[in-house]
Amino acid sequence: MVQSLDTLIETPSQTGGPYVHIGCIPTFAGLGAVYPEDLGLRAIEDGAKGEIITLTGEVVDGTGWAFRDALLESWQPDAAGKFAGQVGADPKVNGFARFAADKDTGLWSLRTVKPGRVITRDGRLQAPHISLWIAARGINIGLHTRVYFDDEENESDPLLLRIEQRNRVPTLIAKKTAPGHYRFDIHLQGPLETVFLDI
């Protein structure tokens, strides 16, 4: 016998199901004014400092279908690399947003500020990125990934450096399509499968 560990085990995940929107973005789901507005409607408020950008993309399943019921959440720092709640953070940057794939096209979009660089615990500088989390029917545990930008210096980013198959790195890098506009498609399977994170 040994001493018993007094740690607990994390509660297991379950899928958000087809009606995840009812709980997370009820106004979008058609429930009307149960809350004044859906949580996470805006990543930034007017007056946020930095480059305002719009990210657009699809969430594509293993058959190539951009599915319509994906719910996404994003979390990021302000243009100076400070997260909401930290000393000196831009008060106009909420950092968190919730958005859904369009029910007709499957397209989602996020209007936000381009994030600044953030240092890791061991002192390495990460390239600018936005964290993404995806929930939907058929996704048993939320999928976590990151969006980097193709017009930033990504070569020394600690996370991107850990990807052994270098041909998969571009799955995490949004492509600039016009000034202030980027495209980022998320592929759950197939040759373009996005790198998902256990972090």
Partner: protein, 246 residues
């Protein structure tokens, strides 16, 4: 140690074997929606250790009362009145205070208020089906609702969801983000549900089954079910440098 705060370390890596498998042919929609390649594992960074915080100012007075929060004239929702309560803590047993919990569920007949739900059971004009609250200083939360009905769903030939309430929790770190479901003690459909069965550890599935809690039940008013939630913890070590401002 330059700080007396004990929660500043990296997130404890997730034990994926304690979670559902992403790919399970018995739950058909998971087949095209589960990644095929391994996840990339790395120690958490501030991107995962920080997270959105929501204050009580976002809450309305009836947000955690699903019996009344959709009612236009104060008529309560139809169904068996149930108090759902519990505590949110981390893997070290520390309470997770001031964190947002959102729930959603079918009505007493097993029907969701959603354009895509066409089940025969009627909508209840006084039931919306969503609620939210923020945990108190000790991580406790409560919702007043009705027991959701079981319902059939298109998967295998004759699959039924057990009675369940969906739960979304934020914690204090984006890496703690969790969506799960609460089941009810004694429901025979739990053991026949392919979604519940995506969790391969029986003891872990049991942790999603809320026991009837008569100690919290209010006589002549509602039954109570207890549902505690454990989120990922953050390692504490005397041997890691802590950078200013983190």
């Amino acid at each position: 140690m330059t700080s007396t705060k004990i929660d500043l370390g990296p997130l404890v890596p997730r034990r994926r074997d304690m979670h559902p498998v992403p790919y399970d042919p018995e739950y058909k929609t998971s087949v095209p929606r589960s990644p095929r390649w391994s996840l990339l594992s790395m120690e958490s960074t501030p991107s995962e250790e920080t997270g959105p915080r929501f204050g009580h100012s976002v809450l309305g007075p009836l947000d955690n009362n699903l019996i009344l929060n959709w009612s236009k004239d104060g008529t309560g929702a139809i169904g068996e009145r149930v108090l759902m309560h519990g505590r949110v803590m981390d893997e070290f047993g520390r309470p997770v205070p001031n964190t947002l919990i959102e729930i959603w569920q079918a009505n007493a007949g097993g029907r969701y208020r959603h354009v895509k739900d066409t089940y025969f059971a009627p909508l209840d004009p006084n039931f919306g089906g969503c609620g939210r609250t923020i945990t108190d200083d000790e991580g406790r939360y409560q919702f007043l609702t009705v027991r959701p009905g079981a319902y059939p769903w298109p998967n295998r030939g004759n699959d039924w969801r057990p009675m369940h309430i969906h739960i979304s929790v934020f914690g204090h770190s984006f890496g703690q983000r969790l969506i799960t479901q609460m089941y009810f003690e004694g429901d025979p459909l739990i053991d026949r549900c392919p979604i519940a069965a995506t969790i391969k550890s029986r003891s872990q599935l049991d942790r999603l089954v809320a026991p009837l809690d008569l100690s919290m039940s209010r006589p002549l008013d509602y039954l109570a079910y207890k549902f505690d939630i454990v989120l990922r913890g953050r390692r504490q070590s005397m041997f890691e440098n802590k950078l200013e401002g983190m």
